[in-house]
């Protein structure tokens, strides 16, 4: 009862601190709930869509002539497979709309009873989906996002038999290939159109060029104890099922790719929230510590009246944990409508409407972790209460814990306010350690997110991470000879120096039985290698760290690489980072690919000295004029598409906004405590002739110093650790070594934001100084 009485009195007297802790807990709880719910809702939407569309356990796309009767028979008779569905497809790798090209493999399918469409707002699925009429097509949302298109636009498909225009009639729900993270796409057209086009393509096909195919959907039998990935591998090892395919994938694999960006973004934000959680604990510790110091006499009197240290410590525990509980509950309640509004924000990327779901269990666990951390911190910091002696407290002898440093910084006449502010810091360093740590954390995150944004917009950084950077792109119409490639280069160099010419092809090979993307490089030494060396001979390959981890292989090991039935042993010579298929790929030279009868048709990318668009346009025109029979040149696409850029901008805004908000709350709390502690000093300064504005400037300078030091610490940490941290967070997209490219603005902008926030907020909060009357110094 006595604790409750004191608790109520404390709340009345310290509303500011109480409300600040409530606010911090509210922000944490609301952010955690919203972020986790967005993720959960997106994942649930993907899972539901998989059920709704009867997505198979394994799907394999073939060119028709590669799907032999032998493979079909084998699959039909395998008891691990319950049923097989086969759909005819028309294959193309070029489409364009609104002047924009799409150059990934696309499968055009005939409408069937399983197709579903997204509603107009893209936040749900329509009940039925009529088959498209003649000249109409359904496309997935991920495709529309990439092409910046909308329903009603005209899409032109370049098929083997010619170009065909379609009107986009609806947005297809495609849990397999619909998301913007997957390059392959499938479209749905009406039966009549399909039959007509199939016949035309069949007529246009030659021995070298096949454009009709089949998608085989495999549904596992209940008795099959294998995972989908294991089953796919075994089917391939036993009968080369996927060796002959264009592409194959398991249900989990597509779910992984579809949810990938959601996972990455929410992970980055959750790491940030975890640090905000640490900030809440630091603020709590600081607040309690200051409270003990300023109420030393009160606690001494309470002890003299018989209050044990346990009761006083319980009072703190009750006070702060209840504030956190209130904040957490309000935060969760607030997040419910917020989740409803935001759960579908990733639909442009996943192409699947989210199904709103709040993971209350996980949220509760995280809030419980916050409580546990806070409780431990409170238990630790309130140990100071044990030292309070009633006699010392009542006699006012509290210096032992009041001043913790006597390091003198000189007081200067010219810089009186700043030098006094600095003295406040140097004589009470420990009081500002928490603030400094908080500033450093906020700064670190801002530097990290700025580095991320900078790197994504820096060609050299992307190149260093294994990406192909180019200004001019040429798609070959046949395998080009060395002489032809040289001629093309010479033509380009009439306009601009070529920094680097990339000749690459992406094909699926079997890697120890597993279908893995191979990047065939004409010159594999162009890539930066983390360890070992480039695969120079025809029996060598290099792998990514993701492959090394997944297959448990290392440099020096031998693996079996297969392509359309032909298999050979290859030696792993090095590791490098590649982002294709989220890092699940390997590198092989042209000679290496030819060893298993793969004559790769190289795409040509030219990274030029000049990135002037007009000049690049001239180069493209010149190439098409001169080499139009063997290549089709175009200006290279931007490396990072609009959707990813928008997401990075969103993360940047969220982290900066949260940092400003936290700065405000932290400054308010720390400044308020400092104000209470230094009330007498303020009165003294006023009595000697300082104006309130001088003293407010002193406060502001003090926080400016702390924030500057904190920003410097955070900046240094950011410089050395941002890349590593981002590498860990972005591992799931294949970035194992993030080449952070922080420039001056990556540091200067966050530092300016942080320091300015601290300066302005502390000046505003210190407005209370005006209320201090010199009369308070009078001893009656």
């Amino acid at each position: 009862m006595e604790i409750l009485t004191l608790f109520k009195a404390n709340i009345r007297r310290r509303k500011g601190s109480f409300v600040s802790v409530i606010l911090l807990a509210l922000i944490i709880a609301m952010s955690v709930t919203t972020i986790l719910s967005i993720k959960e809702s997106a994942v649930k939407g993907i899972e539901d869509a998989n059920e709704l569309c009867d997505v198979p356990d394994i799907s394999i796309a073939y060119q028709s002539h590669r799907l032999t009767d032998e493979i079909t028979e084998f699959l039909q008779n395998d008891e691990r497979i319950e049923r097989i569905k086969t759909d005819d497809i028309i294959i193309t790798d070029k489409a364009h709309m609104k002047g924009k090209d799409y150059v990934n493999p696309m499968f055009v399918k005939k409408a069937d009873e399983n197709i579903r469409l997204l509603n107009e707002k893209h936040n749900g699925v329509t009940d039925g989906a009529p088959a498209p009429q003649r000249g109409e097509i359904y496309v997935p949302l991920g495709f529309l996002t990439d092409m910046s298109g909308k329903v009603g636009d005209t899409l032109t498909l370049e098929l083997l038999s010619g170009e065909y225009d379609f009107t986009i009639k609806g947005v297809l729900l495609d849990p397999l290939l619909g998301c913007s993270m997957i390059g392959y796409k499938s479209f749905i057209i009406g039966g009549e159109d399909f039959d007509e086009l199939s016949s035309a393509v069949a007529e246009a096909q030659t021995e070298e060029r096949h454009a009709l195919g089949k998608i085989v959907s495999l549904y596992k039998s209940d008795g099959c104890g294998l995972t989908n990935a294991k089953l796919r591998r075994e089917l391939n090892l036993e009968h080369g099922v996927t060796d002959m395919a264009i592409v194959s994938g398991t249900r989990e694999m597509y779910i992984h790719y579809t949810a990938l960006l959601v996972e990455v973004i929410t992970s980055i934000l959750m790491v940030f929230i975890a640090f905000l959680l640490a900030i809440v604990v630091i603020v709590t510790v600081h607040s309690i510590s200051a409270e003990i110091e300023t109420n030393y006499v009160t606690f001494g009197v309470l002890k003299a009246q018989g209050f044990g240290k346990g009761k006083i410590r319980s009072l703190f525990m009750l006070q702060y944990l209840s504030a956190e509980l209130i904040g957490a509950v309000i935060g969760i309640v607030f997040s419910v409508p917020l989740v409803g509004v935001t759960s579908n924000i990733f639909v442009g990327i996943t192409a699947i409407p989210a199904v709103t779901s709040i993971p209350f269990g996980i949220v509760a666990a995280i809030i419980a972790a916050l409580f546990a951390l806070s409780a431990a911190a409170i238990f630790f910091v309130t140990k100071k209460v044990n030292k309070i002696s009633p006699v010392r407290a009542i006699s006012g002898a509290k210096n032992e814990i009041y001043f913790d440093s006597r390091l003198n910084a000189p007081i200067s006449k010219k810089l009186l306010s700043p030098s006094l502010a600095l003295r406040q810091l140097t004589t009470a360093k420990r009081r500002y350690v928490g603030t400094l740590a908080i500033t450093a954390i906020l700064m670190f995150f801002m530097v990290a997110v700025n580095s991320l944004a900078n790197t994504l917009s820096s060609k050299s950084a992307m190149e260093a991470m294994g990406l192909i950077v180019s200004e001019v792109y040429a798609e070959p119409k046949k395998r080009l000879s060395d002489n032809e490639l040289k001629d093309i280069e010479n033509e380009i160099e009439r306009f601009s120096e070529i920094r680097r010419a990339y000749y690459t092809a992406w094909l699926y090979f079997s890697f120890d039985g597993e279908e893995i993307l191979a990047t065939v490089y004409k010159d594999p030494s162009q890539l930066p290698y983390e360890a070992g060396r480039a695969p120079l001979y025809d029996n060598e390959i290099a792998v990514t760290p993701v492959i090394m981890e997944e297959f448990g292989v290392k440099i020096g090991d031998e693996v079996t690489i297969g392509y359309r039935g032909k298999k050979e042993q290859y030696l792993i010579t090095g590791t490098t980072q590649l982002l294709n298929d989220t890092g699940r790929c390997f590198i092989i030279s042209d000679e290496g690919a030819m060893r298993i009868d793969c004559n790769a048709q190289f795409n040509c990318n030219y990274h030029l000295e000049s990135d002037d668009e007009a000049l690049c346009g001239e180069i493209v025109t010149a190439l098409n004029e001169k080499f139009g029979d063997i290549i089709e040149a175009d200006i290279a696409e931007v490396l990072i598409d609009d959707a990813i850029n928008a997401v990075v901008v969103a993360i940047r805004v969220i982290i900066h906004a949260f940092s400003i908000l936290f700065s405000l709350i932290v400054v308010y709390m720390v400044c308020s405590k400092a104000f209470v502690r230094e009330r007498t000093d303020i009165g003294i300064f006023k009595a000697t002739g300082f104006r309130s504005s001088d003293l407010r400037r002193q406060f502001a300078f003090r926080f400016l110093f702390v924030s500057t030091i904190g920003a410097a610490v955070g900046g240094v940490l950011g410089y050395f650790l941002a890349g590593k941290t981002l590498g860990v967070m972005l591992r799931s997209v294949g970035i194992t070594s993030f080449n952070a490219k922080p420039d001056i603005s990556s540091f200067a902008i966050p530092a300016a934001v942080i320091c300015l926030c601290f300066l302005i907020f502390s000046y505003l909060v210190s407005g209370k100084i005006k209320t201090v009357k010199i009369r308070e110094l009078v001893t009656e």
Partner: protein, 253 residues
């Protein structure tokens, strides 16, 4: 005829109290003369400290005027009052009130630095001289918590006079000191007054009041008595004490 340094007319000060108003000062008229050592005495709660704070501009009067250099300080803005504090007025508190994280030297120097008319070097030179005069120069680099109460108060006196104020205000400057330190501080104030410094001090200590050449007695917010004495000489202390005691007794002290 002495010059008036500071004068007050109809000075009132009220505070909100228990839903009503407590009238601490009631139409006080007062004049402080140049070079005088004036003491205000009175019982606890009589309003003596309130009067001192109102006269020094540390607190604003509710009504009336306090004229200094022809200007009513009651109507002055905060910035004007602040300037007055570091140019013309010095103040000594009962509880010393030194800034705890500044050394004794710095506590004095900071007040000096506020005065734009002197260079930093001049201020430092004067601080050294004053601390020497106050006998605390040997501990000038100590923090207030590392020295005795008497030493702190001597430093506070030095701080109050660093800018050579025309008026030195002192609120019970010996209230927190032992007998020996009390004598030291009073000697310092007497010495400063002897050099021409106008002093206005509030005290309820008769021994402190003996240093004054003019004593005012305040009761219930009104000045009800005034005693004029010749300048202080230590050898006259006994007879002075008898005279002051008798006067105070007549005022029902």
């Amino acid at each position: 005829m002495k010059n008036t340094v500071l004068s007050a007319k109809g000075l009132c000060k009220s505070f909100a109290h228990n839903g009503g108003q407590a009238h601490i000062l009631q139409h006080v008229d007062f004049e402080l003369y140049e070079g005088d050592f004036t003491v205000i005495m009175g019982a606890s709660g009589s309003g003596k400290s309130t009067l001192l704070y109102a006269l020094s501009g540390m607190d604003r009067a509710t009504a009336g005027e306090v004229v200094y250099n022809g200007k009513d300080i009651v109507k002055m803005k905060e910035s004007e009052l602040a300037k007055l504090r570091y140019t013309d007025f010095g103040f000594i508190f009962q509880q010393m009130h030194l800034v705890s994280n500044l050394t004794l030297f710095e506590n004095v120097a900071v007040s000096g630095y506020l005065n734009k008319s002197k260079s930093a070097a001049e201020v430092r030179k004067r601080v050294d001289k004053l601390l020497e005069q106050m006998s605390v120069s040997h501990i000038k680099d100590h923090l207030p918590t590392q020295v005795s109460g008497g030493e702190q108060q001597r430093c506070a006196v030095a701080r109050a006079v660093i800018n050579s104020p025309r008026v030195l205000f002192a609120d019970e400057p010996t209230g927190a000191l032992n007998r020996r330190n009390t004598t030291d501080v009073l000697d310092l104030l007497t010495e400063l007054n002897g050099e021409g410094q106008s002093v206005l001090m509030v005290t309820h200590d008769i021994r402190a009041a003996l240093r004054a050449n003019r004593i005012l007695y305040i009761s219930d917010g009104k000045i009800i008595g005034e005693l004029t004495l010749p300048p202080y000489r230590s050898e006259d202390e006994k007879s002075r004490e008898t005279q002051v005691n008798a006067w105070l007794t007549s005022l029902e002290w």
